[in-house]
């Protein structure tokens, strides 16, 4: 499983990276976390709001910082 965090580097994007790291750590799952900062790359995901989180190329969250619990439940479902 791979997680992509989309954002051009604003502070909410950094918060999102932190939240996802924590969630992955707590869930104890084996995933790769990829920070996507290039705008052309981000647009491949067709999001209109950043920060966004995509799991296996599917956008699950966009336009806000998720909570750790929320990301964990997404990880379990995926």
């Amino acid at each position: 499983m791979k997680i992509a965090i989309l954002g051009t580097g604003c502070s909410k994007c950094k918060q999102t990276v932190e939240v996802v790291r924590q969630a992955v750590l707590q869930a104890g799952v084996d995933v790769s976390i990829d920070k996507v900062e290039d705008i052309q790359e981000i647009m491949r995901f067709k999001v209109m709001r950043t920060p966004a989180v995509a799991i296996d190329d599917k956008v699950m969250i966009s336009g806000r910082v998720p909570t750790i619990a929320e990301v964990k439940s997404l990880l379990v479902q995926a």
């Binding site: 909410k12 950043t50 619990a69």
Partner: protein, 364 residues
């Protein structure tokens, strides 16, 4: 406009995990709590004036009629008043915004003709949550799904410039007329500038890769209809996020206002920024462009300028230029727009601001 990009509590997501167990009973209870809160808000609001008088004259025993009494009374009354207004309006706007997403704005605007589209886009710009760090994805999402370029610009101009924080602060400190003038002229600039940019036919000055990234309009987070409980949480989050961030600016603005109220002679600025100095409006716009601040941050400056006798048109032009035209935003937009389109955007919006500035200097 940069409010959303700042450091904020990571609380927005809690709303989703708060599961959907709200029955009719809970809805009724939330409604009751809301009405009660509103009632208390209103009672406190009504009590502010006597409270300010009590603090000034009884608690601090400042003699009535003195300059100090006037300054202290102003601050003790205005500071809680404006903060309370801000809280209520930010909460209400938060609820309204939970009904609008950029994806929804795009669906409404896609395929709309210009003119009608420009008007609609400027209005949607007020109610749709927008953040300048999302300007680029939003721009691409719009133009690639068939929203005309000029209509997209109307949205991008109105979204940061006409916002609830600016309006509440203007209302609280200068009265509803100035707030209404700001909202009306801001919308007018967004509509007309977008329309003009559409007429200029500048589609070829959008970076080529943008149109290559064609969009079927189905991207992004799957849309779930939020429950009322989640909308209220969204409003509360907005209050925590926005009021928690802007209150120091608001207090600074009111403190400046209080000092002016008591001490600084009026017409101090009249010579430089009064209505008679014709060059003051373009100067205000030019100074405003490199400055980058949100609506709350600029209010203390506006307060100081107006209080010292600067003309209203000049100050409006300055405020709009700071909030609506900013260098950092242009740099962000440079990723999708060629320099000539950015120049056209700045020129058209700047001209609109100039017209507004001159108009109000002439009228008032």
């Amino acid at each position: 406009m940069s409010d959303c990009c700042g450091k904020g509590p990571a609380s927005a997501g809690e709303t989703l995990t708060a599961t959907i167990r709200s029955g009719a009973k809970e809805t009724a209870r939330s409604l009751g709590t809301g009405l009660l809160a509103l009632g208390i808000w209103w009672l406190v609001y009504l009590g502010l004036d006597p409270f300010a008088k009590w603090v000034t004259f009884s608690l601090l025993t400042i003699p009535p009629g003195s300059l100090l009494a006037s300054a202290v009374g102003f601050f003790v009354f205005e500071a809680p008043k404006v903060l309370m207004l801000l809280t209520l309006v930010v909460f209400a706007v938060g609820i309204v915004r939970s009904f609008f997403t950029p994806e929804r704005a795009r669906r409404i605007l896609a395929g709309k003709r210009e003119s009608a589209g420009n008007i609609l886009a400027a209005l949607l710009g007020i109610v749709t949550p927008f953040c300048s760090c999302s300007a680029v994805p939003l721009f691409i999402g719009f133009v690639t799904s068939g929203v005309p370029l000029g209509v997209t610009f109307s949205f991008l101009i109105s979204a940061p410039m006409v916002n609830e924080i600016a309006l509440v602060l203007l209302y609280g400190l200068f009265g509803w007329k100035i707030a209404a003038i700001y909202a009306g002229t801001g919308l007018w600039i967004a509509m007309v500038s977008g329309w003009v940019i559409g007429r200029l036919g500048m589609e070829k000055h959008v970076e080529a890769w943008v149109y290559a990234a064609s969009d079927d309009g189905n991207g992004g987070e799957g849309e779930v209809r939020p429950t009322w409980r989640e909308r209220v949480d969204y409003g509360l989050d907005a209050v925590r996020d926005i009021v928690g961030k802007v209150w120091p600016y608001v207090l600074a603005g009111i403190a400046v206002g209080a000092a002016i109220h008591g001490y600084v002679p009026e017409n101090f600025m009249a010579g430089i920024m009064g209505a008679s100095a014709w060059w003051s409006v373009p100067l205000a716009v030019l100074i405003g462009i490199p400055m980058y601040s949100n609506a709350a941050g600029i209010i203390p400056v506006v307060q100081a300028l107006l209080g010292k006798g600067a003309a209203l048109g000049t100050v409006l032009a300055f405020m709009m230029s700071v909030i609506g035209l900013s260098l950092p935003e242009m740099i962000i937009l440079r990723k999708v727009l060629k320099v000539r389109l950015i120049a056209a955007f700045t020129g058209v919006v700047g001209s609109g601001i100039l017209i507004v500035g001159y108009l109000f200097n002439a009228l008032l």
